[in-house]
Structure formats: C-alpha cells, structure tokens
Amino acid sequence: MKLELHIWRQAGPNIKGYFEGHTLDDLDEHMSVPEMLDHLNTKIIKSGGNPVAFESDCREGICGQCGFVINGDVHSPNKGTTTCQTHLRSFQDGQTLYLEPFRAGAFPIKKDLVIDRSAFDRIIQAGGYIGVNTGQAAEANTLLINHELAEKAFDAAACIGCGACVATCKNASAMLFTSAKVNHLSMLPQGKPEASNRVKNMVAQMDMEGFGSCSATGACEVVCPQGITMTNIAEMNSRWLWQNLK
C-alpha cells in the first residue's frame, strides 16, 4: 500500500513549522498509524535524517498519549477512534495524508507532533478529586449506588485525557473534558460534599489556562474516543450556576 505523507515539522515551541513530504509505498493495510510512523522513522534515521517526533504509549486507545490531526480529522477519519487505533485500511491506496499536531493555544507544540497538555492536569488539580485520605474510607457496601447512576458516573469517568475535544473545537474549549470530571465526581454521593467548590475551582482553572468558551456545536462529542456526551456540558453549567446562586 502507498501513501503520500505531509507531516508537520517544528523544531521547538517558538520555531516556525512547515509540512515535510514523504512517500511510502511498502505499507501494510493492517498497520496502525503510529506503526506507519515507526516505519517511516526507521527509514529517515537510516538515511541520516531527523525522525518525526510523535508520542504514543499504550497503542490500544486507553492512555490518551497519542493523537494528531489527519487530513483535518482529529485523531482519525473514523468516529470516536484514537490515532493509535486507526489502521491504514481506513485510507485509500495512494491517498495523500496531512499529519499535524492537535492545535490549541492551551496546548503549546513542543516538537513536531508532540504537544504539551499539562493544562489538563492543572484543571484536575484544581478540584477533580474527592478529598479522602488513605484510611478514612467506610465499608464499601454501606454506600449504595444504583446501577444506573454507577453506569452514568462511569460514562463520564471514562475520559482518557487525550485532548481531542479541545483540538476539534473551533474555540479550543475544554468544556467536555472539565465537565466529564466535574460530573463523574459530583453525581456520586461520595463527591457531593465538595461539589460546589469543585465546579467553581475547576472552571476557574480552565479559564485561566486560556481554553475558549463553548458554543455548543457538539464537535467534541463526535471525536471523543470514549463517547463522552455533550449532556455533560449542560449538566456542569447548571452545577456552576447553582453554586453561584448560593
């Protein structure tokens, strides 16, 4: 299988980037996108060049480390699929692919396809936890949580922190990410005592990081590899309003 690649190259955070062309004609349709880049990098290195910097770790769609934009599609042409889970059979033989990093002001580019997503960690740090110290917990079954609620909490908790929602949003908003964590914790009885500070502090941190606002186009839920839905954003908005009214 053959592909024409145009890959974003950028030596460092404040250096101008450009697309670099490569043609690969010995690909296998079952290769994943990172495996294709491994293959390309081996060739580049052996011919004395500078390999493409990109990140991936688990290569099974759960760690959230990978992710770039392929022909304008965040992560993948396949809906709700991470880059590492995208195989070349998703493309046409001979197709041209443009590979770029996720782009957002709050995710500065470090090198080539590698970005800095530490803003997400700072949002979690602002309140994305339940303040229980080791040893304080009560017997687990003294807290009953009905099946539907547990499932709903899981749906929100499933976020892998990849940043696709931000990358696809025209405003680079982090509302889907932030709301998923706010709701996961605040809908559970264990998370209720801190619910109002949590939403206030996490939203404040999100704004401080320079993420944009949400205009409810729903692009984020389409690319989310875990299928986290827009309803989370509405739910967080109402939590936020409530705590402000208090």
Partner: protein
C-alpha cells in the same frame, strides 16, 4: 544472607503485629524527611499521595507527560478482594491459598496473606475516591470470577478497571501536588540511583524535554516503575514500559529476584505481521462466557462456523474438566501453544486459537453479552475489523506480566537500605505465576497500605542518623551524574546503522523463541550466545540521531534497550539454573507424562536473588521459602 524480616507468630497476626510495633515519627517532624517516588502508576501514585497525606516531603518523577498515563491505565478485567459479598465461601484464607497455589508455591506465605488481608480495605478506599465499580440493580457492588479460582471476588469497572483505579490514585496525587508536601515532575526519567555507604540516597534524573541532568537527595527512595514484559518486544505492555529504573538499581547493588518469571497472557490478539509493535490484550474475563477451541483437523481450511461440533477440540475443557476455560493463565497459555505447535493454530499466521461466544449468545442473548463485554467486542472490531458476535474471536498468548523484579523483604525494602520497591517492579507476591486481578490489587496495597507504614518505620529507625545532603553526598551525586552523562554521550557516538527499535525486535524474537512459554537447556544456551552477540553488535552498530540536549525519543529508547539487552542475559541465566517447572516457568525437560509441569520442591523451593558482578556476571543468592501454614501440593486444575 537475605533476611526477609517476616514477623513471627500466627499467619493471621503477622501484619497486625508488624503495624503494632512499627515505629512512628511525630507528625511535626515528618516534613523533615524527604521521600522520592519514581513512577505514577497505581503503586507510585498511591504511595506518594498517602505519604504526603501523612506529612512527609515527597518528590515524584515519571517519564510520562502526565501521571495519568502510567500503564496501570490499560488493565481491563478487575481487582480482587476477599469481601465474600457473594456468600460463595470466600475468605482471606481462601484468597491467600488460591494466590499461593496459583503462584505454584514460590511466594512467601506472609506476604501473600497480607495481600489478601488488605484487599478489602482497597475496595473501600477506591469506592470512597469515586471509582465507579459495577453495581447490581440493588445498588450493591457487583463481582465476577476470574481465572484460577472458583469464587467470584473480582470487582470491576466495565472493561476499564485499571483506568478507573489509576484515576482515583492520580486524583489523590494531584490533590497533594496542589498542597505543600508533594511535587510532581513529569517527563523526567530516572537514570541512576545515588548510593552512599551502600544505602540509597538519591537519584539522577534526566529532563526529557531539555536533556538536563539533575541530582536529587532523599532519605528513602521508592521505585514503582512497573513491569518489564516489554523486553519481549511484542507484549501487552505500552511502548515505553522498561526496566531501566530497576536495572540501574540492580547495578548499584539491589538484588534481582526471579527475573525469568514472565507471565504469558492467554487471551491477547495474535500477531498479524512483522510491522506490529504490540499485542493487545482481550480481558481474560471473556473466558467466563467464551469457550476456547481449535479445529481437530491439522491445517483446517474451513471457516469456524462451518466446522461441526464434533470436529472441534475444546482442549481446556478436555484437559482440565473442573476449571475448563477458567484454568489459570500459565496453563491456558501453554495449552494453546501446545495446540498451535501441533499444527492446529488458526488465523493467517496459524498462531491463534478460537474464543467462541456462540453458546453464551444463544443462552443469554446479545444484549446481555454486550452489557458485559460490549467495549471489548468493539475494541476487537476496531483492531481486527471482525465482529465477534458473528464469528469467534482469535486469540493467542502474549508476554504480559513480570512476576520477577527487585528482591524486597516483608517491608518492601530491597537489600539496599532505603530503597523500597513497589508494584510490578518488585518480585514479592505472585510466586511463579500471577492470578488475574491480583496485581492491580498488589500495586494498590503496596502503595496505599504497606509502604506508608514500613517507610515510616524505616525512617524512624534511621531517624537520628538521618542522611544529610553534605559534601560526601554531593560527591556521590556528581559521580553518578558524570556516569550517566558519559553513558549517553557514548551511545550517541556509536553512529552505526541500526536503530534501537530494530535491536529490540531482534532481542524479543530471541527471547520468545528460546526463553518464552516453554524453555529447555539447549535452546537457552543458544539464546545466551545470541544475546551476547547482539549486545556486542549494539555497541558497534547502534544509530541514534540528534543529541542529548533536546527531545530525543531515539536516545530514550536506546538507553532502555541497552538495559534490556543486559537483563535478557540474566533472564536466561535464571531460567537455566532452575531445573524444574513451576508456574510460568516451564522447562520441557521437567514435565509429567501428560505434559503437566513437574515441580521440584526438594531442590528449588527458593526464590533466586541475583547480585550484579559486572560484565554479564552474576552471583546467585537464594531465599529459601518456608511453608509453615500450608502443605505443598502439586498444582492440579483437572
């Protein structure tokens, strides 16, 4: 002599007794002690957060760009606890016994008992953190069963239990990072342990974004750096999993225990081509409802649905009628390999077996199966393009979990005073084979419950002589930094024509074939020669682009592969000396007539602990295992 420091007294009382006598440090004084934790997986994040909660000064390093990406995130199936919520006869004792037996009686009784004993508190802790475990309609926690046991003691969060537990620990860690007791450094890799008078007193760290090397002082060092199964190249581990932290500690004097005990997981997706970089695991919980079979005919050409029942060999049900498809991992993997080697393998490379849900789908209907395994079936479709509701999955064994690791005593401290090793990085609880859903547990129990108590005990013990960051320390730190710097420069200067990845693939191939699921003397001796030759070639032919003062993923890989190459030789050495079969270690020379493992308790009832002697030389120490509370039995799942 290795002193495992197991408290005496009845098994049930040992941990309580230890805790009762462990020394404490006054809360106001704790901030005077500096603890370094390397790794932010379940073991690292949980220990770091718990120690910071106690008031110690904690500094945490991970090579990942976020603490949440540690490979604990990928665990699917679940976590065990002896809650006996099912009223199906579970107890701490039964869990202890299952684990010890599952490990083929090659683990310490006291450690295993403690693991079972602390299991319940972990579930409580995780629920309190908001981990959304599966629930019954009544609101109570739900359980399922896992390989190797006959009770249902596994707690799970759909197929993402590791992710949910890790997020709980990560959130606890970030909460502390916001406070004043803990500092987290991401994209920082530990490349050496700083030792002073044979004690661990710090680390040399490389900033992976800038290449800068820095020295960090501590009173206690905790390595929670995960497993090294990726040494086989194709494995269920993440691309960046590596042994560098534990290997560098080993070179500084820490003993490496049972490095050849690697578990091969029976339900991974098979390799499809040479380009492949990893093998994806399908949770073994699938074995609750899936039936494993191969065609009876060698070189079968028909599609699975066209093969009549009578021409299918449900080999696990046939060989192990009482455990059937839930036989432990080592046994299931070996049985698959046996059928594949005998020519019954399926799939394009004839390297797989079928995992068939036909009967479960007929019995329970597609919605019920989808609810239990929906995300796994979706994942299977994403990766293979095939629909497992319509045709059986194809699965194969893959390198997965390291039972081996740095040797630790009951306190989880290695023979280097001040160096603690937690989670998959240590050897402690799983013997020669780990039971499913026990290692998330072990990582959490080590981090939340054991280390906080034992590290404090150690610090209180050395208390008055608390290490100082004085001139002798500075000299040791400078030496370590100079060594690391020299090593990186040397690797960069080789400028050959082969990438680190290519060497890693070759290394993996040698180990898979000659020291993998089954081993024999002749093959392993050949492996040793091949590995020595590969190591030589690495030093001559390695090619790394770029330099050491920038983001350089190739340099990161090369360092890890260099360590893997050294470790592989010790793995073979370890497997060679153990002239018996036990757990995941199957020596072809030592088997019964019907192909079962033949253990030799008389001569091998010990854990090997290797001392580094330089230049691929090692000295063997033995920790003899005393079984005071159980009778050794040959492990039968028939």
């Amino acid at each position: 002599m290795l002193d495992s420091r197991i408290p005496d007294g009845p098994l049930e009382d040992k941990w309580q007794k230890y805790k009762a006598h462990a020394q404490l440090i006054n809360p106001a004084n704790r901030r005077n002690y500096k603890i370094i934790v390397v790794g932010t997986g379940l073991a690292g994040a949980s220990s770091a957060a718990s120690l910071a909660e106690l008031g110690f000064q904690v500094e945490v390093f991970t090579f990942h760009d976020s603490a949440r990406r540690a490979h604990s995130v990928a665990a699917q199936g679940g976590v065990n606890a002896a809650k006996d919520y099912k009223n199906d006869g579970d107890s701490v004792w039964r869990m202890f016994y299952d684990t010890l037996k599952g490990g083929d009686f090659r683990a310490r009784e006291a450690n295993v008992y403690r693991l079972a004993e602390c299991s319940m508190a972990l579930i409580d802790q995780a629920v309190a953190q908001g981990v959304p475990f599966a629930r019954e309609y009544s609101g109570y926690l739900s359980n399922r069963s896992f390989g190797g046991v006959q009770v249902s003691r596994t707690f799970y969060a759909r197929g993402q239990t590791g992710q949910q537990l890790l997020l709980g620990a990560y959130q606890a860690l970030m909460r502390q990072n916001a406070g004043s007791n803990l500092t987290l450094h991401t994209r920082h890799e530990m490349l050496d342990v700083i030792t002073l008078n044979g004690e661990a007193k710090g680390v040399t760290i490389r900033n992976l974004d800038t290449g800068e090397l820095t020295s960090h002082h501590c009173d206690a060092l905790l390595l929670a750096t995960g497993g090294y199964g990726k040494i086989y190249y194709l494995s269920t581990l993440a691309m960046n999993c590596n042994a560098t932290a534990i290997w560098r500690a080993h070179r500084k004097g820490a003993f490496m225990a049972a490095p050849s005990w690697t578990q091969f997981h029976p339900t991974s997706l098979p390799q499809l081509g040479d380009y492949q970089s990893k093998l994806t695991l399908m949770s073994e919980s699938l074995r609750n409802d899936g039936r494993i079979w191969v065609p009876k005919l060698v070189n079968e050409k028909r599609a699975p649905k066209d093969i009549p029942e009578a021409e299918r060999d449900y080999y696990l049900e046939r060989r192990y009628p009482s455990f059937g498809n839930l036989a432990p991992r080592d046994i299931s993997s070996r049985a698959a390999k046996e059928r594949i080697d005998a020519g019954h393998g399926v799939g394009p490379m004839k390297n797989a077996v079928y995992l068939d849900f036909k009967d479960a789908l007929n019995r329970d209907g597609q919605p019920a199966i989808a609810q239990r395994y929906g995300n796994l079936f979706d994942m299977y479709q994403k990766i293979t393009g095939m629909n497992a509701y319509k045709e059986p999955m194809m699965i194969a064994p893959a390198a997965h979990f390291s039972m081996g690791g740095l040797w630790v005593d009951y306190r989880l401290m290695s023979n280097l005073p001040g160096l603690f090793v937690l989670g998959e990085a240590n050897f402690s609880d799983h013997g020669a084979n780990r039971l499913g859903a026990n290692s998330l547990l072990q990582s959490c129990v080590d981090g939340y419950f054991i280390a906080p108590s034992t590290v404090m005990d150690y610090l209180a013990e050395v208390g008055s002589a608390k290490s100082k960051k004085d001139a002798t320390w500075e000299a040791a730190a400078a030496l370590s930094k100079a060594e690391v710097s020299k090593r990186l420069e040397h690797l960069l200067k080789i400028k050959g024509n082969t990438t680190a990845e290519e060497f890693h693939k070759e290394l993996g191939q040698i180990l898979y074939v000659k020291c993998g699921l089954s081993r024999n003397q002749t093959d392993m001796e050949a492996a040793r020669e091949a590995l020595l030759a590969l190591q030589k070639r690495f030093q001559k032919e390695l090619l790394i682009p770029g330099n050491a003062s920038e983001i350089n993923f190739e340099l990161e890989k090369a360092v890890r592969v260099e360590d893997y190459l050294e470790m592989a030789i010790l793995i073979v050495e370890d497997a060679l000396q153990r002239k018996e079969s036990c757990g995941a270690h199957f020596r072809q020379e030592y088997q019964t007539e019907d192909g079962e493992a033949l253990r030799n308790d008389e001569d091998f009832k010990y854990v090997s602990a290797w001392e580094y002697k330089g230049d691929n030389q090692y000295a063997l120490h033995k920790e003899h295992l005393n079984f005071e509370f159980v009778e050794l039995k040959s492990r039968s799942y028939k």
